[in-house]
Amino acid sequence: VKTNLKRKKRYVTVGSPWQKQLITYSINNFTPKLGKKLTHEAIDNAFKVWSSFVPLQFDKVDASQNPDIVTFFAEGFHNDNTNFDGVGGYLAHAFYPGSGIGGDTHFDGAEPWTLHQGPNKGNDLFLVAVHELGHALGLQHSPDVKAIMAPVYKYHDTKNFVLPQDDILGIQSLYGNFWFKLFDSTKPPRRPAATQPTISSIPEPSPPKLCELSNYDAISFLRKELYIFKGKYMWRRKRGKTSFSGPLMISSFWPQLKNGVDAVYENPTSNKIVFFKDHLFWEFRGTELLPQSPRHVRHIGMQNGKVDAAVWWQRNGKTYFFKGNCGYYWRYGVGRVEEDYPRSISVWNGAPANVDAAFSGVDGSHNFTYFVKGNKYWVFNNWEIKTVKTSLSFVDDWLKC
């Protein structure tokens, strides 16, 4: 058992997490208080919360296929060492990773199970399932009262659910995270959970639909995965996939950016991801905020005001910042933008003036820069230094709507 209180981490883990990436589960029955569909929705989404943060893949199978994690509802004695006790008291329990009963998760059928009914309305099955599956993956109770792994039932907004930071740190201490796994060149790249498009939160009743967006705040390849940002949401296309998962709350990966972003780029050589919002910028290594962040854009020699688009060029190792409404761009070298900038964006001949987003690195190659304005895009050849395709449909060509 590791309790790491020194570095303000409160989570507690048990010794042995699952030693594989594909974990099967079954939902053997359902509570009549929610019916089968909502019971499955609650438990399926609880698995998705965890797979949003660690490279695990959860596949639902039939109970007859000897799943790793068996879930069911029962009352009173149910063939293990813990008898349920009617309404109140024990809500559920789960066994830590292992063979046989290891990972199994049992819910007390006597409880007033609800789903997305808000606080003080019974016990939300989604929230209890997230907690219990945390045990099934190797997490102990956390003394952080804000954590989902705190022992006493506490309501969290389920329509806008964001896994608390202590739980994210805890689960990633067991299974690493996407950044670590994708970048650990000493090991064969671990395929991130492919089939579980990650929804770390139950989407709000009216979350934006990617295919219906008329414009985007920022777009970039980050760790070779394509991210699209709009408002406080983001969508993510994992390597080798054609479809996007989401909406995810940006804050579920980068808690400091809960209000959204204006621009983003990644510089793989410095292993930095840089976000811009209004007149500030944040530097991250993966999801870890680097010291001194956030800083004012003046620190890199830019005047006030926001950056609309940013893109790193592999060809010269420089980063270009675009301010759409005035049609200017800056070139950023080491530590600050270079002399005799800004210049007119017309230098990027054929590129749109008030660009919303810019990205490069498609499938790892940096031969082209893609400028996005509204839901159209332009293709700029980085070697011929000219726009080779104009005003194509971003929705059709990239979102596969």
Partner: protein, 83 residues
């Protein structure tokens, strides 16, 4: 403290609270056996303070109202402490 707080509460509540501490791993199961030595009372108070700390409560070592209230809330059946 422990003895004082016990006299203020009826035995059912004390029994409930002591079972709670056992169920969730704060004291070993044999602590509930009768005839425990006085020295064990000390461990109850210590265990209680530990439970209060885990739940973000003032660590009084007593069965005070806030502690009993938390103990009565619905929760996960897994222990808070795993040996």
């Amino acid at each position: 403290n422990h003895v004082k707080s016990r006299t203020k509460r009826d035995s059912a509540e004390i029994g409930f609270a002591e079972s709670y501490l056992v169920n969730y791993g704060y004291v070993p199961p044999d602590s509930l056996q009768s005839g425990r030595a006085n020295a064990e009372l000390h461990s109850w108070s210590k265990a209680l303070a530990e439970m209060q700390k885990f739940h973000g409560l003032p660590q009084t070592g007593e069965f005070d109202d806030a502690t009993i209230e938390i103990m009565k809330k619905p929760r996960c059946a897994n222990p808070d402490k795993v040996s």
